[in-house]
């Protein structure tokens, strides 16, 4: 296992060091190179944050350090892709999706270049570094860009499976990766299919549809409430685009409530995407969107933020109960 590089891992009481997602990212790219894929990687002065230093040391000829020039990095990645390279370029999600939105749209997505955009340290995971570093709009921005797939994996194994499963995907993908301390959801591996949610159970009371880091807390909350006699299901909707509409419609046919959970503004994110499907199909399940409620997130250590925004297991459990009780009132 690689050394976890972080200045502030003390903040996490439940750090799982078996498969944190950012070192997994670098390792998965190394495996893709070893399997013969024409992979290159680049970053914007964050190779120690995102683990790409491992890749850089192993394959210096395949690594590009762009310095703090994110827009140049994205446009250059599009140029690289025209030569047959599969470029993986990584920086903080807040900078990648927002600062480089136009480069992503024009050079990568419109030009149909199979660039992999790795937005890491998503949502509120950068904690006290400041609201500027929180990525709570990136799903809304990226999923509105045609030709671009949007993937938000729950943990290291899911990320590794996703990177491997999509290496030959002919169009660009925006991967949304947490900060690398993710608790493991998938101990026994994942069968990742782009556009296909992973069903952890269908409940008659509620189906949770979650993506990314909150999947772990949602699963724990589901298990606790099922033990308490409720009927709660969960879908890990890692592919936010293309979206698994079939799974959403099946869940809405069975459950009274659909609860979406995401560390993102509830406007335009996963909750917005699910709302579009339910509304267009005229399905009757009540939708509750849980996430950041159209506000700028506070500054605090990440654990405090997840507690404050009720995005940890206890918070999601409370939101679930409120939804169930609200529905039966």
């Amino acid at each position: 296992m690689n050394q976890l590089i972080s200045k502030d891992s003390w903040q996490y009481r439940e750090v799982n060091r078996r498969a944190p997602s950012l070192p997994t990212f670098s390792n998965a790219l190394i495996e893709l190179v070893e399997a013969g894929h024409p992979v290159m990687a680049g970053t914007a002065d964050l190779q120690y944050s995102n683990g790409l230093n491992e890749f850089a040391q192993r394959f210096p000829e395949r690594f590009v350090q762009f310095g703090i020039s994110e827009q140049n990095m994205v446009s250059a990645a599009a140029g690289m892709a025209t030569t047959g390279v599969i470029p993986y370029v990584a920086t903080f999600a807040s900078f990648l999706a927002l600062l480089c939105c136009e480069q992503i749209r024009m050079d990568v997505a419109y030009c149909r270049q199979p660039v992999r955009l790795i937005g890491h340290h998503t949502g509120i995971s950068l904690g006290f570094y400041g609201t500027s570093h929180h990525a709570t709009e990136d799903i809304a921005i990226t999923r509105s860009i045609a030709n671009l797939a949007v993937v938000s994996t729950a943990d290291g194994p899911a990320l590794a499976a996703a990177l491997k499963a999509t290496v030959d995907y002919p169009l660009p993908i925006y991967f949304r990766i947490h900060r690398g301390h993710d608790p493991v959801v998938y101990d026994n591996g994942v069968d990742f299919q782009l556009g296909k949610g992973i069903v952890h159970g269908i409940g008659n009371d509620v189906t949770i549809i979650a993506a990314g880091h909150p999947v772990h807390g949602a699963k724990k909350a589901m298990e606790e409430l099922n033990e308490a006699g409720y009927s709660v299901g969960l879908i890990d909707m890692h592919s936010i685009k293309p979206l698994d509409e079939e799974a959403i419609l099946e869940a809405s046919a069975r459950s009274k409530i659909i609860l979406t959970v995401e560390e993102h503004n509830i406007i335009g994110g996963l909750g917005g995407a699910v709302a579009e499907v339910l509304a267009e199909k005229g399905k009757g399940a009540r939708l509750v969107r849980h996430g950041i409620r159209d506000e700028y997130s506070l500054i605090a250590p990440p654990t405090h933020l997840y507690r404050h925004y009720r995005l940890d297991a206890a918070g999601i459990r409370a939101v679930l109960l409120e939804a169930i009780e609200g529905a039966s009132a």
């Binding site: 000829e61 140049n72 446009s75 690289m80 025209t82 030569t83 050079d107 030009c111």
Partner: protein, 286 residues
């Protein structure tokens, strides 16, 4: 064709002059279909187009996707109307496409589109991306051990975009000696004179400070321009990228366009168009 540093023959010079004239005439013809367009932006770089496509760049007729070809990128994408006739002339697509310019469903619009037009090495329209695209192509080429060059034509107003300077740093930092930027220094942008709007001078010092080799040339002197491009391309000892500041005149070839800056976007109309075609036919631009 893969040129060396030899002097140009009179026949080669005459051919390039004739091709630059062809670019201007075709630009007028195509804009008459659209009823509005960027005559003057093309006229300032017609000699640059001719020198690159008909002499300097390593390309294969009829093979727009040849992996070892030199790449051409247009920061000033709105001059695409002058590029399309060249690409058709090189056999990259059927010349009849030109007649559809800007019509519903045509692959040919005001900016070059790689998803629709064979021979367009990268799409443009958003100012300031092209030099970065070129940097990426050369990094990819280096990985594949291909030695092609990337020629990036930039507008002088484009120098106002921050990303150009990110890319300039990137080019020198990564030692991309096969990256050649050509600044079409015609002095004007949409709203007026470049240096009245947001001054970019001293351009040569700026590029030099960013780690580039810099040359200045009269961008309409086809002999000097082509000789310089040949020399820069043939110089295998250079470790830096290279910037050529081509001093040009916006609207070169039509006197009232040269002196009235309002022609960035315009339409001649039938009578003036006939006069302009005749003027270009009868004008020798050095």
């Amino acid at each position: 064709m893969d040129r060396n540093n030899d002097p140009l023959s009179d026949a080669q010079l005459e051919h390039l002059r004739e091709r630059a004239k062809f670019v201007r005439l075709e630009t007028i013809r195509l804009i008459s279909i659209a009823k509005v367009g960027h005559y003057t932006s093309v006229f300032s770089c017609a000699e640059i187009f001719a020198a690159l496509y008909y002499d300097v760049m390593r390309i294969k007729k009829g093979e727009p996707a040849w992996p070892d070809r030199d790449r051409f990128l247009m920061g000033k994408g709105h001059a695409a109307v002058g590029l399309f006739p060249i690409l058709a002339d090189l056999g990259y697509f059927d010349p009849s496409w030109l007649d559809s310019y800007t019509r519903l469903g045509s692959p040919l619009g005001d900016h070059p589109d790689m998803t629709k037009v064979p021979g367009v090495d990268f799409s443009s329209g958003s100012i300031g991306h092209a030099l970065s695209n070129g940097v990426g192509m050369l990094l990819g080429g280096r990985f594949h051990k291909r030695d092609f060059n990337a020629f990036v034509l930039l507008g002088d107003g484009e120098m106002q975009e921050g990303q150009v300077w990110e890319a300039a740093l990137s080019g020198s930092s990564h030692g991309l000696s096969n990256l050649i930027a050509i600044v079409d220094r015609n002095g004007y942008q949409l709203d007026g004179k470049v240096d009245d709007i947001l001054a970019v001078e001293p351009l040569d010092e700026k590029w030099r400070a960013f780690g580039w080799e810099v040359h200045t040339v009269n961008g309409h002197d086809i002999h000097a321009l082509t000789a310089l491009l040949r020399q820069v391309k043939a110089d295998k000892g250079r470790t830096k990228p290279c910037c050529i500041i081509a001093k040009t005149v916006k609207g070169k070839g039509i006197d009232y366009m040269e002196t009235e800056p309002g022609w960035h976007l315009g339409f001649l109309g039938a009578e003036d168009e006939a006069n302009a075609l005749e003027t270009i036919q009868n004008t020798v631009i050095s």
